[in-house]
Symmetry: C2
Subunit: 408 residues, 2 copies
């Protein structure tokens, strides 16, 4: 069987997939490649189109969408699904926003949509969630899902760089975009957590509903404190089933050396899944880059050939309804440059001055933290989840050990 494959986008990921197919099976190369910018210098041995209709209106069997623009991506993917086509996408922003509509289209028109590369790039985590947890109950998923943030944290811990220096180095090494905002503010992670939670829990939580703080306010004093305890700070995405509902949050968090997430460094991603039947499963692999991401696209393509489609069995056949996560209370270590910035966040917890910062250790509700995000951003407040690694008392004691003045 030869498939007519249409490819949108020939950037980092598109070229990765192309390279792999070229060296493996020419039948899996695209017949048509649509890109956007007519003035870009391109490989002269390849033919490019600038007209999406060359794929959308052609007798193509499989569409691969690897463009950077989520709005256009939705147009392409939804219109291919309406023709019952098989589609592969890596566009986490687009997918996390539109999965409910896309799954409806898949059902109505009989096409299929795979997107392994959209979360944790090279790790086959979506396929594993989809095939390996049938009849099982997942109680918790924790992940390191942004290679760029993790690379930055590795530099803070291993090389004592400042955040600014680490971001620059990440850009120079191709681990962060020219505009690194979506990477370092955690937004990229929340797209991925939305996608993974649909497969792990059968719940669709739009990314705007998830408490999300990135690495941008992790400062040298936090790093020093964690190091003094033999701990690290990682940007951890958590989704946790409780009798009350699904808790979800993305926060810099303390990680201890017995946790497999402790060893995840540089651009690597990881996911840790706790379930009734399987205990703890742990997956680690490259979270970004041309070949790792292209390899996941290529694996999807070989799955499409076999007729593989996601089962979404945790949905139990029900229609997707957007939900909010259930609010919960988290123990965190909070610090800021001024007393005024810190106070509204920590209620009655005592405040200490140490390492040039004001600190408190407090239980804080995720709902309250979401409300405070504008103030947290404006005042560059650092919030580090204790993540069951340290008791509030021990965290406080360690802050006090570094303390100069007790204020209250």
């Amino acid at each position: 069987m030869t498939n007519h494959i249409g490819l949108f986008g020939f950037g980092v990921v598109g070229q990765g997939y192309y390279e792999i197919a070229k060296n493996d099976r020419l039948a899996l190369l695209p017949k048509t490649i649509v890109v956007q910018n007519k003035n870009k210098e391109r490989d002269h041995s390849l033919q490019f189109s600038f007209d999406p209709k060359d794929i959308l209106d052609a007798p193509c069997d499989i569409g691969i969408e690897l463009i950077s623009d989520p709005v256009q991506a939705y147009d392409y993917v939804s219109s291919l699904l309406k023709s019952g086509k098989k589609i592969i996408s890596a566009n986490k922003k687009m997918l996390s926003a539109h999965l409910p509509e896309l799954l409806e289209l898949e059902k109505i028109y009989g096409g299929s949509l795979l997107y392994e590369a959209s979360a944790a790039a090279g790790i086959p985590i979506i396929t594993c969630l989809d095939c390996h947890f049938r009849g099982d109950h997942i109680s918790q998923l924790q992940g390191i899902l942004n290679g760029s943030s993790n690379y930055i944290l590795s530099r803070l811990f291993q090389d004592d760089l400042s955040l600014q220096e680490a971001v620059k180095l990440a850009q120079e090494n191709g681990f962060a975009e020219a505009d690194p905002t979506l990477d370092i503010n955690g937004s990229d992670v929340s797209s991925k957590l939305t996608i993974l939670s649909l497969h792990a829990f059968g719940k669709y939580i739009p990314e705007g509903e998830i408490l999300t703080l990135g690495v941008q306010h992790v400062h040298a004093a936090d790093v020093a404190l964690a190091k003094s305890l033999g701990l690290k700070i990682k940007l951890i995405a958590t989704a946790k089933q409780t009798p009350q509902g699904l808790n979800m949050y993305i926060l810099p968090a303390l990680v201890g050396e017995s946790d497999p997430l402790f060893l995840v460094e540089n651009e690597y991603n990881a996911a840790k899944i706790t379930s009734q039947n399987l205990g703890e499963q742990f997956f680690q692999g490259k979270g970004a880059g041309s070949l790792p991401t292209g390899a996941s696209v290529y694996a999807d393509l070989t799955k499409v050939e076999k007729g593989y489609a996601y089962s979404y069995d945790k949905l139990n056949g029900q229609k997707i309804n957007p939900q909010s996560p259930h609010p919960t209370s988290l123990d965190a270590m909070i610090s800021a440059d001024s007393l005024e910035a810190l106070k509204p966040l920590v209620a009655s917890a005592p405040i200490h001055q140490a390492n040039g910062k004001y600190w408190a250790v407090s239980a804080i509700s995720t709902a309250e933290l979401i409300n405070q995000i504008p103030a947290i951003e404006a005042n560059k407040v650092s919030v580090i989840a204790l993540n069951n690694v340290l008791s509030k008392e021990d965290a406080l004691a360690q802050i006090q050990r570094q303390e100069t003045v007790s204020l209250k």
Copy 2:
């Protein structure tokens, strides 16, 4: 679609699968269960048969083989394959011995055979190797593939138990068989490495061809030495592509704290795969037990329903020919109770006396080690691979630091 499912065996794994299906989808429960021992006390709410023909000659669609006897297992599985049936097996001993014939039968008669539970129990490693590395080149696979041995090593390192005490505890906690021989002598690991290597490298290396030393001669002095360097000893299975051919060996090996295998404790298993496109991928999960293993069987069953079959794409469509691994040289730390036991293994390397043992650090060829296995067993010689964690010089220096007498 309702399938008629026939189950052979209702022990640890069979009951795990049954439990999961019962709580998830009754259509995936077996219609017939064949067991062996007529005098065993059984669950009275279930009906059992003692006649394999009740499955083999019945209109069953899917056969699940979960018996403890590899010889009978081969009879059941091959005869079902000859009727073009879909089969699931967890029988690593049987599979590693007969995969070539079974794949032939699969091809000729159009059935299918899945066996996720046969290697690393709960970890979906075979499916991942089979779907996620298309067009990729795997250069190395390293794994901790026996939960029982790993549990024993955890006890030696964490609780300072002797090997005998640790084996007893493993048995008491259900992590080792009544006869723990196949677990602790590494034989179980070599079955699994044979199976994994077929999917990772497209090479069939019968388990008898693989250099295999288990944990049975790891002694307190080895543990003390590793600990003094901040290292651990794990039973590591390695398969490594080199320009000369595939190297393969199973040995207790030093592991350093930056290796994700360092954190794999107790009954957990893990696999680390290094490939051209994906860099290093790492998978960790439970390597034994009723529910973890049953969950892999159940996941296979839901894959069978979707028509999923292994691609064996690394075979490139070629027929399986048994091969030998390519011999290589390994740096190892070797110790024994007597000079005579040690000498034949270490050629001209200097021998030291420390901690009540005779020690040497030497490069040693895998071919030579295989020849020496009877002597190694008879004399309880400990061979610990340095595993690129320590140079020969540093290993020697550390032995000398504990030394009492230098002998040569």
